[in-house]
Amino acid sequence: MEIIYLIFILFLSGAIATFLLGKVSKRLRDIAFITTLVVPSVLFFTQINIGQTVDFSVLGIHLSWGITNFSYIFAYIVLGLGVLAGIYAVAAMKGKENLGFFFFNYILSIMAMMGILFSRDLISFFVFWEIMTWSSYLMVVFTGKDVQKVGIKYFIFSAIGAYAMLMAIVITYSLTGSMMISNLIFAFPDFEFGMQILIPVLLLIGFGVKSAMMPLHVWAVGSYSHSPMAYTAVFSGALSKMGIYGMIIVMAGLVSRIPEGYWFREVIAWMGAITAVGGTLWAVAQDDAKKMLAYSSVAQLGYIIIGIAIGTPLAMLASLFMAILHGMFKGTLFMAVGAIEKQTGTTNFTEVTGLIRKMPFTFLASLMSIIALAGIPPLGGFIGKWMLYESVIGSNHYLLIIVIFFSSTAAFLYCYKFLFGFFLGQEEKEWAHVKEAPAMMVVPMVILAIGTFIFGVFPGLILNPIDAGLQELGYAVTQGRYWEMSVLFNEWGDTVVLQPILYTILAVFVFFLAFVLTKNFKKTRYVSTKDISSSGEIPKEHENLTFSRGFFQPFLRSVEPLMRRKIDPYYNSFGRGMEAIFDFVRRIYTGNGQTYALYVVVFALLLLIFKDRLWG
């Protein structure tokens, strides 16, 4: 039997086995879950060769599965994050109800993502895309909070995206007579003009929804923050990358091959930029860590979209690098929030403070991820941002670079807020009992955090496969031109050597640590963070006066005009309007039998009047 089939059968049967074992024994269920994630991953990385394909046909349509260099990049994210977050999930979700269902969906969405990467034809792509959508939907509504609002919103947007994609797929099929992606790419330049515009637009709507591109992002925050954190790590880290994956195929395979492609790129780039700015600003304004991270995810995806839209080899390199890194650090951060939520029961900055000594490993992992997120060397985020800036400037998008700079500066604000709000500050009595999360939760976080560190110093480790993947999409070799294992070049001849930076920073860090250790912590007087009577005011009982409250009030006031325009209300009123119209439509069925009889006569009359034109 083909190993490719075996992987999917293992996933599927494992999912069902996990679900059923959940009814029998909890331990068996957990073991089955981890096994189902690990075994196919091992099989994948050891047994599957690039270029190996399996072919079959369904309903007379030829389908084909196989992995390429390009999709291999994403397989790292999916399986790596999937396994680590899976291990985390076992511990994090312990004691919750209905876990068999949770694990079932978890495995299914991992399977679906692998399926997307394996698909060489549009039908299996769409099938797996939809499996991914509904399994993640079931995760979003898993907690049962706001299901009618958040869950439905997620599914509606996903469905809009998916159906736009489906329309493009069937049009492609009618034009090329084949469902293969390669045939679409091959035949695309010969399509007539309307189709050349329509197909990429429809596909981009589909992928834009999953990657939370700006006007289509409204589902993202609620869904990210409502699903269990163990899953959100995968959701934001890996699942949203599927949108990126598709978008790259569209941009590189289709859009770049038509003359109008330039405008496409500009529009998409600006949408990405708006996404980045908007996501960042809203992230700053949040008081809830989950929501903040969710907005931050949206913003980060915005950067990645910009890179894809710019489309130079360097920009692609940057985007893919950022995509992988984002998967790692955002996964870590969501896991950290999940750990904090599990230990304290809340994720609100204004309530939790001073966990640094209670949860040191979580703090460490968060710190490294935050540094990576902010793009400070020597962690991975720096490489991606550096390359992205360079490519944006290199392609003469000066206005764009200003916007990006603005948003990445603003990103520091929420990074700081995250660290400070949770870990630093006063140690509250309320949280005295808090302990470090179980090892099964901490280890995956730490592994991922160390990963970002390593990739920050030796970016060549992942730039190599990215380069191979990009060559498959038709890009020139970038190795040696833009990067070496641990060195970055730029177009102006500068060189960034990463290892010295590492050593410098390590030295500073060690020095600082030594400083802290020798100097000791001075005993400070305990003052409740919710007590500001020291400044002469009498607090009211119901007011939460934590310092984390209104953290960036002045900044937010200054950018308020930018944030006033929310797109969400428009969607909501549109939805309400449609419902009202539909409600009106159903009044056709008046309930009066006589009216129905009248319809019969009117219908007959209409047909009789138009009887000469009933058929051509």
Partner: protein, 231 residues
């Protein structure tokens, strides 16, 4: 207002019907040599049945008739089901039409005659106008007459139901017996006799008698049910 609109609509509708049916071409282009002539010819030559309508209803389009008795059967059952109530006392009449003694005496006199007429009509269905439906309905009107003239005239529901079922079953069984000798459903398997003889037409009179029984019992049961509806 509504009436005006409806009248206008109907006028338009009527116009379309009129230009269809009152068109002189409607008669001109008609194909008058459809199945009609074959039916007329075969009725005499092979089925030996005098009444062509009977031959068509029972033999050529016997399947329709089977469906039709099913419709009646369904209607009778449906009536029972629709009007069904838990505490339904059989024999308790909801409607009592005041009947004068003239009516009741007349009914008593007429009843046997009506039954006889009905039986005659369906027995001679293949020879003269009439047949199972007509005879059956005539018998049913006889019972109807009795039911409305005598308030305590009652018929055993079970007997009706048994006769009805048996007639229906025999109809289908006779139809299935067409399969012997490698024939088809409802195919004639009996000697056809001579035209205009009481014993002619093969299975046609048998089936029509069965239909007569079935229709008579079904309609009687139907009226019985609706009469005993307690409002």
């Amino acid at each position: 207002m509504k009436k005006t609109i409806v009248i206008l609509l109907l006028a338009a509708f009527g116009y379309f019907l009129a230009i269809t049916f009152l068109d002189p071409d409607f008669e001109k282009d008609r194909n008058r040599n459809g199945v009609k002539n074959v039916y007329l010819e075969k009725t005499v030559s092979e089925l030996k049945t005098a009444n062509t309508v009977t031959a068509i209803v029972v033999n050529f389009r016997g399947f329709d008739t089977l469906g039709e008795v099913t419709v009646l059967f369904l209607a009778a059952s449906a009536l029972g089901s629709i009007l069904f109530k838990k505490r339904h006392h059989v024999g308790e009449r909801s409607i009592t039409l005041p009947a004068s003694s003239i009516v009741s005496t007349g009914a008593k006199l007429l009843f046997p005659a009506i039954i006889l007429l009905g039986v005659y009509v369906f027995v001679h269905g293949h020879l003269t106008p009439g047949g199972g439906f007509q005879g059956g309905t005539i018998i049913a009107t006889g019972f109807l007459l009795m039911l409305i003239s005598y308030r305590n005239f009652s018929i055993s529901h079970n007997i009706l139901s048994v006769i009805e079922s048996l007639a229906g079953i025999l109809f289908v069984v006779i139809g299935l017996m067409g399969f012997i000798n490698g024939g088809t459903f409802l195919q004639n398997f009996m000697p056809t006799g001579t035209l205009n003889n009481l014993f002619s037409g093969g299975i046609i009179p048998i089936i029509y008698i069965l239909v007569g029984f079935k229709v008579a019992t079904e309609l009687t049961g139907l009226i019985y049910t609706i009469l005993h509806e307690k409002g």
